[in-house]
């Protein structure tokens, strides 16, 4: 006996299983939600693959999956985050981001109006960053099998001639520069969590940094390493850099920029701002003779106006990150073990 899925009730407000099935509803979703937001000649061909021409040379390729909750948070939503994160991952490798793919997993029952907002944000973020979403996919899972929306974006970029950045390239003497205030994103998202009853005016710093990074590489192509301190915060990134390069890192506590409101929230929750996620910041390791130029270039950009030198790489204690306090004492900045949770102790 053959069972056929009966024609779904016309519930025009919400995502249904059929939206992911490849049939009429899928095409309707494509036409009404995705194409208007993401339209470009390659995507408009609606083929099973995007066919691209890349200039000769090295290519950077990255992927990331976004499962953040809440989907809408102060300063952004999952749609734009899905662009910023992947664009930044390419940019910190010295690549010019060009093309993105976007794969969506939608939960049955998810409000279409919210999906519209998310995809529209994604499209706007892509346009602003100068990238095209050239291919994508949408699947729908039963209610309860995902948290509203999951998005995967993969990105391709062209690595500039003469740029060779890597987490293994830090040398003792390199200055470590942070492009702005720490912990804005993670704390904004945490405070938006119901029940925590905390309010802040600081929002997520979610942003595409490729233009800013381009400007930096223009003035000083000899950067050794760049990384964006997302999950695990600056602590994770700095530990990764120290380990990969086999150098020690010493940070100056007084030099690390943190917004006063974020600082207050971190003190109250007992969270170290160094361990909190950022979505619009970059850490740059640069030989000392390039530090001033890089700092200037960052500060001229709206996303880098609070840039500061926060420390340096050293030959001592390889692989270990140490914080120097205002009093001259030291503590180790550990690789965060997992989720940073508010504590009462």
């Amino acid at each position: 006996m053959q069972f056929e899925c009966p024609l779904p009730q016309a519930d025009h407000d919400r995502v249904q299983i059929a939206h992911g099935a490849g049939g009429r509803l899928s095409r309707e979703l494509m036409a009404t939600v995705f194409m208007p937001a993401l339209n470009n000649p390659v995507l408009a061909e609606l083929d099973d693959q995007a066919r691209l021409i890349l200039p000769p040379g090295r290519v950077a390729f990255t992927t990331d999956t976004y499962v953040i909750t809440p989907l809408f948070f102060p300063g952004g939503n999952i749609g734009e985050l899905a662009v910023h994160g992947t664009v930044n991952d390419l940019a910190v490798g010295g690549a010019v981001p060009r093309f993105l793919s976007a794969g969506f997993v939608l939960e049955e029952g998810f409000p279409l109006a919210d999906l519209q907002l998310i995809v529209s944000s994604l499209g706007q973020a892509a346009a602003k960053a100068g990238v095209s979403v050239v291919t994508g996919d949408t699947k729908v899972v039963q209610k309860g099998q995902c948290d509203g929306v999951f998005i995967n974006t993969s990105g391709i970029g062209e690595i500039r001639e003469g740029i060779d950045v890597s987490c293994r390239h830090l040398q003792p003497g390199d200055r470590l520069i942070l492009s702005g205030t720490l912990a804005d994103h993670g704390i904004a998202v945490l405070c938006a969590r119901e029940g925590l009853s905390m309010q802040m005016s600081v929002e997520s710093d979610s942003a595409s940094l490729n233009a800013m990074i381009s400007a930096v590489l223009e003035v000083f192509p000899g950067i050794h390493a760049m990384r964006d301190p997302t999950r695990g915060g600056a602590a994770a990134t700095l530990n990764e850099l120290a380990s990969a390069s086999g150098v020690g890192i010493v940070l100056e506590e007084e030099a690390i920029p943190v917004h006063p409101e974020v600082r207050g929230a971190c003190e109250l929750l007992g969270i170290d701002p160094l361990t909190v996620a950022n979505e619009g910041k970059v850490i740059i390791a640069v030989p000392s003779n390039g530090a001033d130029a890089v700092l200037d270039a960052l500060r001229r950009d709206v996303h880098g106006k609070n840039a500061a030198v926060i420390g340096e790489a050293v030959g001592d204690h390889p692989g270990v990150v140490v914080m120097r306090t205002a009093y001259g004492s030291r503590r180790v900045v550990e690789m965060p073990l997992g989720e940073q949770l508010p504590r009462i102790c």
């Binding site: 600082r263 205002a326 009093y327 004492s329 180790v332 073990l337 949770l341 508010p342 504590r343 009462i344």
Partner: protein, 364 residues
């Protein structure tokens, strides 16, 4: 940040360090019993700045570290029961029980949520009338008033689906237990400033007198902590004993009467097991009979619990200040923050975790 930044002033820190240096003439061992103070000392590296003749020892001041294994296992068992929403402070989520931690309980389908306040847990109970909402009430006397208020409020509102699992402990009995141990090395105490904010100082005078030690309630910022160390050192050098308040902007002799009243209404004093130390008489708080309906220990039958402690873990000696963490044979080998054998290596301000971090900066 007002009332924080002034107490982190590097010039004042330097001034106090000089005064301590001038005051000290021989070695002294001073203990703080407060996880928050341990954390502050490590965060600001204060023990590195003090003269080497002063040994600052971290006592059993971390409620995470001293919650008995049996209680943690009980909490995990209740959390795994169907229909239960289990709520806890974030500190407890990673603490291993005999077989698992809350993350592994959650990964098997349990609804475990961290809360910042017991009032959040109450709200979850209001929002989920068909679920049993259990709150893990750990803490010292600082946290007990809030926990008490939540239970009292649940009773007032008739929130029959809310209950608390009480694992609360008191500081003065722990001090007595440490001081009366034959191998005790502690000569003076920094008392927990926020505990004293609630309880006042009355319980500490008899301890100071009986055991002949200085006890100085201390705050949590570098200036507060060093000021307190200075006062302890001055008293030790002069052979003085007693209680001297170094946190006067919030600690008063009588404490917070309203908080003590509500605590007394909801809780009664009971014997408690301290993980790694053993039973200390009259050192904990148990929910009174009149609030039995809100006591998760009475409400949920967890069957027989057989706690399995690591035979290698020497946290008891560490918590009493007798053993330095790095002297434990398992330290850094079988026992690391990633694979902890006992609570002092798990908790952010456990003594063993603190030493582990410090050591890594300078090599073994």
């Amino acid at each position: 940040m007002k009332y924080i930044d002034e107490y982190r002033n590097p010039d004042l820190v330097r001034l106090l360090l000089e005064q301590i240096d001038n005051a000290v003439s021989r070695p002294w061992t001073i203990m703080e019993i407060c996880g928050g103070q341990t954390h502050a000392i490590v965060r600001h590296g204060l023990d590195q700045l003090l003269p080497s003749s002063i040994r600052l020892v971290h006592g059993p001041g971390c409620p995470v570290c001293v919650t008995p294994l049996e209680m943690i296992d009980r909490a995990h068992t209740i959390a795994a029961m169907p229909g239960v929403i289990f709520t806890t402070f974030g500190d407890m989520l990673r603490v291993p029980g005999s077989h698992q931690d809350f993350f592994s309980v959650r990964s098997r389908g349990a609804d475990v949520r961290f809360v910042f306040s017991p009032l959040e847990a109450l709200q979850i109970a209001r929002d989920n009338p068909r679920h049993e909402v259990v709150f893990l009430a750990v803490g010292f006397e600082t946290t007990a008033p809030g926990n008490a208020m939540a239970i009292k409020q649940a009773a007032t509102e008739g929130l029959g689906n809310f209950s608390a699992l009480s694992s609360q402990v008191l500081v003065p009995p722990a001090m007595r237990a440490i001081l009366s141990s034959p191998d005790n090395l502690v000569q003076g105490f920094l008392a927990a400033g926020h505990v004293c904010t609630i309880t006042g100082l009355c319980d500490y005078f008899p301890v100071a007198e009986t055991y002949g030690v200085p006890i100085v309630p201390a705050g949590f910022e570098p200036v507060d902590l060093l000021n307190a160390v200075l006062k302890v050192v001055e008293m030790l050098e002069a052979g003085e004993t007693g209680v001297v308040n170094a946190y006067e902007r919030v600690v008063s002799r009588d404490g917070n009467a309203g908080a003590l009243r509500v605590m007394d209404d909801v809780f009664e004093i009971a014997d408690r097991t301290w993980r790694g130390i053993g039973v200390i008489a009259r050192s904990g708080l148990r929910i009174r009979e009149k609030y039995a309906a809100f006591d998760a220990e009475r409400k949920f039958d967890v069957g027989h619990i057989e706690p399995k402690e690591s035979s290698l873990c020497m946290s008891g000696d560490v918590l009493r200040g007798i053993l330095q963490p790095e002297a434990c044979p398992a330290f850094g080998k079988q026992c690391t923050p990633l694979s902890p054998l006992g609570a002092p290596m798990v908790s952010g301000e456990g003594a063993c975790a603190a030493y582990y971090r410090y050591q890594r900066a300078w090599g073994a």
